[in-house]
C-alpha cells in the first residue's frame, strides 16, 4: 500500500514538473513572430508521417539511421510496457496485462528483443561519439555540455534497458520457482540468459526484481524530466516540427509583406498600406524577431550535425555551422525566457542573437545552397534564420561588405549586379 502511494506521488510529481518545464518551452516558442502554417493539412500530415514517424531522412546515412530506428522503435514500443508498469504501480497488481495469454508472451518477448537492440545501438552510439570520434560530434560548437548531454542520454537508455531486462530475468526465475505473487506470464527470450548470474534465494530475487522495477519506472520519470533541459527534446518536437515544415520549394525565400507595403508606397503615392501600431523591424537582430517556427526548429534540434557536415562553408573551414545557428538561437531564446521569469516581461539584458551569439562572419559565409535544410532529419531550416539576420544587417544597419553594397548599387542603377550599362544588355546578340 505504501508502495502504491509513493508511486502515485512520484508519478504526479514527475508529470507535474515535466508539464511545468514543457510549458516554459512552449511559452518561449510563442515569443516568436507570427507565421501562418495552417494551410495544406493533408501534405503536412503526410510529411510528418514520412519524416518523423517514418524516419525517411535518417536512413540517408544507413548505419546511424538504422541504429536510430531501433532505438526509436524500442522507445515507442516498450512504452506499452510502461503503461502496464504504471497500472501495476498504482493498483498493486502484477503484470496486469497477463490475461492476454499467448499474446502477452509475444509482447514481452518482443519488448525484450527490442530492449536488447536499444542497448546495443546505444552502446554503438557511445562508441561512435567517444572512441571513433565521428567528426560531426567534435566540431567547434560541440563543447563539453553538448557532448555530455548526448552521453548522459545514451547511458540513461542503457541503464533503463538493463533494469528492464534484469527485472524480467528475476521475475522469470521467481515464476519458475513458483513464488507467490509472481504468476506465470510472459516470455523471456533475452533476460533468461541473465538467469545464471542471479542469486538463488527467493527473497534476494524479490528484492532485485523490486529494485529494478522501481529503478526502471523512476528512471523513466527522471528521463522525462531531463528532456526539457536537453537536446533530446526532439523526441517530442520532431512531430510538430515536421508537421509545420516549409512545404514550398527550398529555393523560395519568404516574401516580406512589411517591405512590400513600403515599396508599394514608394512606387505609388496613393497606396495606403495597412499600418500596424508597432514599428516593424526588418529582419532579425534577436531571437524574438524570428518566427515561432524558427524557435520551434531551435528546440527541436538534437545537435546531430548532419547539416554542418554537408555545409560547403563549414567543409572549407569557414566559421559558419548551421548547427551552431540552431544551438545559439535556442540558447538565446532560453536566456530571454529566463529573464522574463526573473525580471518580468519588459526586461532587456542588452544582449542580442546577432553579435552576442551568432557572428557576422558566420552569416556572411552562407551560400544559401540548402544543403543543411535538405540534410536535417527533422526539417529544421537554419537558412531562414541566417537570411533574417542578413536582412537586419542590410536593411536596418546598412552593414554589409563594401563589395555587396556596390552590387546593390549596380542593381539599383544599372539593373545588373555588375557595373555595365543597361544599354549594352543586348550586345551579346550582335557578336
Amino acid at each position: 500500500m505504501i508502495g502504491q502511494i509513493i508511486f502515485l506521488l512520484v508519478t504526479i510529481a514527475a508529470i507535474g514538473l515535466f508539464t511545468y518545464n514543457a510549458r516554459k518551452i512552449v511559452r518561449n516558442i510563442k515569443l516568436g513572430k507570427p507565421l501562418d502554417r495552417s494551410d495544406r493539412r493533408a501534405d503536412r500530415w503526410a510529411t510528418m508521417a514520412r519524416v518523423a514517424l517514418g524516419q525517411s531522412k535518417m536512413v540517408v546515412r544507413p548505419v546511424p539511421g538504422i541504429l536510430h530506428i531501433l532505438v526509436y522503435a524500442g522507445f515507442v514500443i516498450i512504452n506499452i510496457e510502461v503503461l502496464e508498469i504504471a497500472i501495476d504501480g498504482l493498483f498493486g497488481t502484477h503484470r496486469i496485462f497477463s490475461f492476454l495469454g499467448g499474446f502477452y508472451g509475444f509482447l514481452i518477448g518482443a519488448f525484450e528483443w527490442l530492449a536488447l537492440a536499444v542497448w546495443i545501438s546505444c552502446a554503438v552510439f557511445l562508441i561512435r561519439r567517444n572512441i571513433v570520434k565521428v567528426k560531426r560530434f567534435w566540431a567547434r560548437e560541440m563543447t563539453s555540455w553538448p557532448r555530455s548531454d548526448a552521453n548522459y542520454i545514451l547511458f540513461a537508455e542503457i541503464l533503463l534497458m538493463s533494469a528492464f531486462l534484469l527485472m524480467n530475468s528475476a521475475d522469470h526465475k521467481l515464476q519458475l520457482e513458483g513464488a507467490t505473487h509472481y504468476l506465470k506470464a510472459g516470455a523471456f527470450p533475452v533476460s533468461s540468459w541473465l538467469s545464471p548470474l542471479l542469486p538463488s534465494s527467493e527473497s534476494s530475487l524479490v528484492l532485485l526484481e523490486r529494485i529494478c522495477w522501481w529503478f526502471h519506472i523512476v528512471g523513466i520519470f527522471a528521463f522525462l524530466n531531463y528532456l526539457p533541459y536537453s537536446k533530446h527534446f526532439h523526441i517530442i518536437l520532431a512531430f510538430p516540427n515536421t508537421y509545420f515544415s516549409k512545404l514550398n520549394p527550398k529555393g523560395e525565400f519568404d516574401d516580406m509583406q512589411s517591405v512590400t507595403n513600403e515599396v508599394k508606397a514608394m512606387l505609388d503615392p496613393s497606396f495606403t498600406p495597412v499600418t500596424s501600431a508597432e514599428p516593424v523591424r526588418f529582419g532579425a537582430k534577436d531571437a524574438t524577431d524570428l518566427t515561432w517556427k524558427n524557435l520551434m526548429d531551435a528546440y527541436t534540434c538534437t545537435e546531430c550535425g548532419r547539416c554542418t557536415s554537408v555545409c560547403p562553408a563549414n567543409i572549407t573551414g569557414k566559421l559558419l555551422s548551421p548547427r551552431k545557428i540552431m544551438m545559439d538561437t535556442r540558447d538565446r531564446i532560453t536566456e530571454i525566457g529566463k529573464n522574463i521569469d526573473k525580471h518580468g516581461k519588459d526586461h532587456r539584458d542588452g544582449k542580442a542573437l546577432l553579435d552576442d551569439y551568432i557572428l557576422r562572419e558566420e552569416i556572411w559565409a552562407c551560400t544559401t545552397c540548402n544543403a543543411c535544410t535538405d540534410a536535417c532529419p527533422v526539417n529544421i531550416d537554419p537558412l531562414n534564420i541566417i537570411v533574417e539576420l542578413r536582412r537586419y544587417a542590410v536593411m536596418e544597419e546598412s552593414q554589409a561588405a563594401a563589395s555587396l553594397n556596390s552590387m546593390f548599387g549596380n542593381i539599383e542603377n544599372n539593373g545588373a549586379p555588375w557595373k555595365y550599362s543597361p544599354a549594352d544588355r543586348l550586345n551579346w546578340a550582335n557578336q
Binding site: G251, P312, Y392, M407, I411
Partner: protein
Amino acid sequence: MVLRGNILRQTGLTGLTNNIYSKKMTIPTMAEMLSEGKQPDILFWVGCAGSFDERAQKITRDICKILDHVGISFAVLGTEESCTGDPAKRAGNEFLFQMQAMANIQVLDGYQIKKIVTGCPHCFNTLKNEYPALGGNYDVIHHSQLIQQLIDEGKLKAEGGESFKGKKITFHDPCYLGRGNGVYEAPRRALEVLDAELVEMKRCRSNGLCCGAGGAQMFKEPEKGAKDINIERIEEALQTNPQVVAAACPFCMTMLRDGVKNFNKETEVSVLDIAEITARANGL
C-alpha cells in the same frame, strides 16, 4: 585572389575560340515583336550573367541557336530586361529585390508574357517561386528543362555535330535547380542522349556540393577559411577523370572554370553548359 566581381577578366576567353557564329541569327526583342503585332511562344529571360559575362554570353547564344533550330518562336526583352533581384534578396536586401521584381513584373505583364525560359537557375527560381507573391505569375522553366522536353518530344537529338560518344562527363548540380527546385533529371537527360559516359561525383543530386557562388557569394570575397569552395568541388569533379564538367548555371560556370584553372587542367577538362553541349552535339 581575383575579385569575384570582375568576372570579365576571369572569363574573357571567348575571343580565342573558333568563330562558330557563321550562321547569323536574328534575336527578336519583345518590343520588335509587338511592333509587328506578333506574340512569341516563349520569352527567353537571358539574365545578367548571360547578358554581360563573356563566357555566359556564349551559352546565351547557344540557347538561342537551340530555340531557332527547333523552330520555337521566342523573343528576349533586350534592354528592357533587368536583374530579377535574386542576389539582393539572398544578401538580405528585400527592398531592392522587391523594387526590381515589381518593375520586372510591370514589363512582363505589359507584354502579356505567359511562358518564360531562363538561362540561369537563379533567375528561374526567383521568377518561378518569388514573383507570384508580388503578383507576377508565369510558367517558368530552366533551359535544361526545355532541352529535356525537346529531346522527349523527339524534336532535338544529338546528331550532325561534335560526337561526345564515350567521353567522360560529370554533371555539377546547381543548388537552385537541384535542391532549390528538385530538378535533377532534366540536365542529365540532355547528357544521356550523347551516348557519353556519365560519371557522378560522390556528392551529387540532392547531396550535391555548392560551387560557392550562391547567396551573393559571387559578389564578395569568401569569408576566412581553409580553402575556397570551388576548389573543394573541382577536386571532387577531377576525381572522376572527366573530359567535360557539365554545368547548368553561369555562376557555377565561373566557379568551376576558376577551379579547373587552379589545377592547370584547362586543356584536359572543359567546363561546358548543358546548352553548349547540346548545341555542339547538333552542330549548331
